[in-house]
Symmetry: C2
Subunit: 455 residues, 2 copies
């Protein structure tokens, strides 16, 4: 065993404690009440980076939550990698479903439970640990390294593009590295080359201008909750396809070769559906589960509310009903292009007797890259070394909107090397990160820097 | 002007103060937190009845909220009337839409604003004032009077049938009187001969057993909020008819004569829709607005919720989505007979990949009576005397489930003589009762007792 690998093994417990300290800070970017916590988390991350030997670290203000920037440029002639990650987390709701509190990281059965354990604090701290190991063992990194750890990923990275453009020269790099994706299974290292995009909207339907007595008025005016149900129902057809005109125009259809490659992946479809807790898999006609979640767009209600939702019964005919509705997009769909068509379609689906407002919350471009790029090949080798197993080349269903921004601003290849598992419950109660992922991922990151240096 | 009418005029201000004292008690029967307030209101009503000269008054415990019972039997040979009303009120939510607090009764522009001002405390206190006037002016009432003022009308009168059956002999009467309905307009006295019934349900749809990340799983499993929307959409067809099998089997279709009579009522359709604040009237094809709200069944979502409903965006695929869905029924539909068929239908409408639970909250039979009955004719005369205008014979869209219970337990005619207005916002924020209704109604009640005595 080489000294680097040995150091990584001997310090696993401490690496975990470092991560737990960060997980205790409730950096919920979506909720204004946590604004100060988000900043405190940025300061904490910056202090940690300085403590492991990255003195050129700073907390950079934006119009929203701050960015943590760090750099180590002591490897002249070697490639420069830009690590992107995020320290903000999703809201922990519904709180009552957490077995242990979301911001009190707790170890159970080799898994660390906390909001952000996997998405993305756990995966960012793998890199921090890998950096520490190189600096401690070798006194230096094999590559030049820049880090951008942002605080708005979970709310659409609204201010990151401005930051990237303003800092473009300083951030110049040969490759972008991101660890915010998943593995096909606990022992199946996976290299991701495509992500879905996102269009997140809110649809508000108003019927009467005030809540009415359902006995007095029921039957004579449009109920906005019934109308909203009709709109949502009509947004998909019987085959599970989204009915927005032009929605599929720019979708890259899978080739037969791609479909075959996907079929051959060690993807446990039955296990995946079982993990979801759904009674069965259901989706767009003509596609397999793995195709549906990685390569096909879809539409989901993320939240819906209206009328009386308290105890007991209230015979009210509500004035307003609202739904948060988002669409996952695939290459080359563009949320900015699609929104107008979507909004007009939603309005056209509404029954008579109500008014509809459609808001665009945030969006993100889908992403696709070339698995044969030398940088991707370096990542492939790093994973194979770390896990002693051939990595799977995968596409993912989630969105990292900033990947498209990196692509357009820097025009450099991006490595998506993540270690989440499908049962990590990211964005849900009881989010966790497996220690096997955390430590295997840390080793993979340490090897990745070496492999990138080898070119 | 006779002495009775004069007394009523001279004491209007005090009658109003009596009502306001009762409106200050938040007797919200649906909310467990208000249990003690509901009882306090019963005690308050009983104390008031004793103070106006009805010493035989008591608060009777039930399995739920108490009933106030009172009687005055000093008119041997005269008919006996049983007054039914309720002292409980609807929840005041949403609180932020009230211009003045719901339990601080406030006069503005000749209208008294408070939760329960019209439904039904205001209308119960008309009778209390009329009783006081007779006892003060004449030392007696022209009829024997029994009163049942209950505390569970707004939650389905779950324990009243048991009370009525247990007290059947003591409650024996020649006629039932209820003031909990409306007038066609501020100067149009109205006598109601039919009410709609109610079936109030809750539909809970579960997809995955836990909240999921919509990127990771979106497209591969059924979203319960989307599924709930499909169910709700399919519960009505394109003509606005409810799709539950057998739903219309027992509906008494309107005869041409009845439709003509309804057309000739002084009902301001445009004004009614304007008051609702809806952009236009919408409902079952082939029926007018007044037919839709009085003589046709309908289905409304009263509340819907699921997923993330907080600030900002959360890309969650929810585990559960729920809706409160109620149906207004018309003679001779029976909610007990229809529920099984409804529940089976709801389940059959659900898309694959989710499970559905249908709960029956409470129901009420529709009601219809004979306008030519001598007791109804007495009420007609009382209204005509009080308002110096011919009363309209109307049907109402709301439900007073206990009317059917009175009909089956006592087999006696019922007088529905109410003074609400369509803009009273019962069950909604800013509920009010017009002083013209309160005082004109009080006079009508005082005359009603006289006309009933005349036979």
């Amino acid at each position: 065993m080489d000294a680097l690998t040995q150091y990584l093994e001997q310090n696993q417990e401490r690496f975990l404690e470092n991560l737990k300290a960060c997980l205790r800070i409730p950096s919920v970017s979506a909720q204004p009440a946590h604004k100060a916590d988000v900043r405190a988390c940025a300061e904490h991350v910056a202090a940690h980076l300085k403590s492991i030997g990255m003195p050129h670290t700073e907390v950079v203000d934006t119009a929203g939550h701050p960015v943590v920037y760090a750099e180590w440029l002591g490897a002249p002639g070697a490639p420069t990698a830009l690590l992107y990650g995020h320290y903000d987390v999703q809201p922990p709701d519904p709180l009552d479903l957490w077995k242990t509190p979301p911001f009190e990281p707790t170890l159970r059965d080799g898994k660390l439970f906390a909001r952000g354990a996997c998405d993305d604090k756990g995966q960012v701290y793998m890199h921090f640990s890998a950096v520490e190991a190189h600096l401690q063992v070798n006194g230096k990194l094999p590559i030049n390294l820049k880090m951008v750890i942002e605080g708005e990923e979970e709310v659409g990275s609204g201010n990151l593009a401005t930051f990237l453009k303003a800092w473009k020269d300083r951030l110049a790099a040969d490759v972008i590295m991101v660890s915010d994706t998943s593995m096909l299974g606990p022992d199946q290292p996976s290299l991701c080359y495509a992500l879905r995009g996102l269009m997140y909207t809110e649809v508000e339907v108003t019927g009467p201008t005030r809540d009415l007595h359902s006995g007095e008025f029921g039957g004579a005016v449009m109920n906005p909750a019934n109308a909203l149900a009709t709109i949502i129902h009509r947004l998909k057809d019987a085959d599970g396809r989204v009915t927005v005109p032009g929605f599929y125009d720019k979708v890259r259809e899978l080739t037969e070769l791609q479909r075959t490659a996907m079929r051959e992946l060690p993807f446990d479809e039955a296990g995946f559906i079982r993990e979801s807790g759904a009674p069965m898999g259901v989706g767009e006609k003509g596609y397999s589960t793995i195709e549906r979640i990685t390569s096909r767009p879809t539409l989901d209600v993320n939240g819906i509310w209206g009328g009386y939702i308290g105890d007991g019964a209230k015979t009210v005919l509500p004035s307003v009903a609202t739904a948060k509705i988002s669409m996952r997009l695939v290459p080359d769909q563009n949320p900015d292009e699609l929104f107008e068509s979507y909004a007009a379609h939603v309005k056209s689906l509404a029954p008579a007797g109500c008014t509809v407002v459609v808001r665009n919350h945030h969006g993100g471009m889908p992403f696709i890259s070339d698995p044969s790029d030398p940088m991707m090949q370096a990542a492939y080798r790093a994973l194979e070394r770390s896990w002693t197993k051939k990595p799977a080349l995968i596409r993912e269903g989630g969105s990292i909107p900033v990947m498209a921004t990196f692509q357009s601003v820097f025009g450099k290849p991006s490595i998506l090397m993540g270690f989440g598992l499908h049962d990590d419950q990211v964005h849900a109660p009881n989010e966790k990160f497996s220690l096997s992922s955390f430590h295997g991922g840390t080793r993979s990151c340490a090897y990745l820097y070496e492999e990138l240096a080898r070119g």
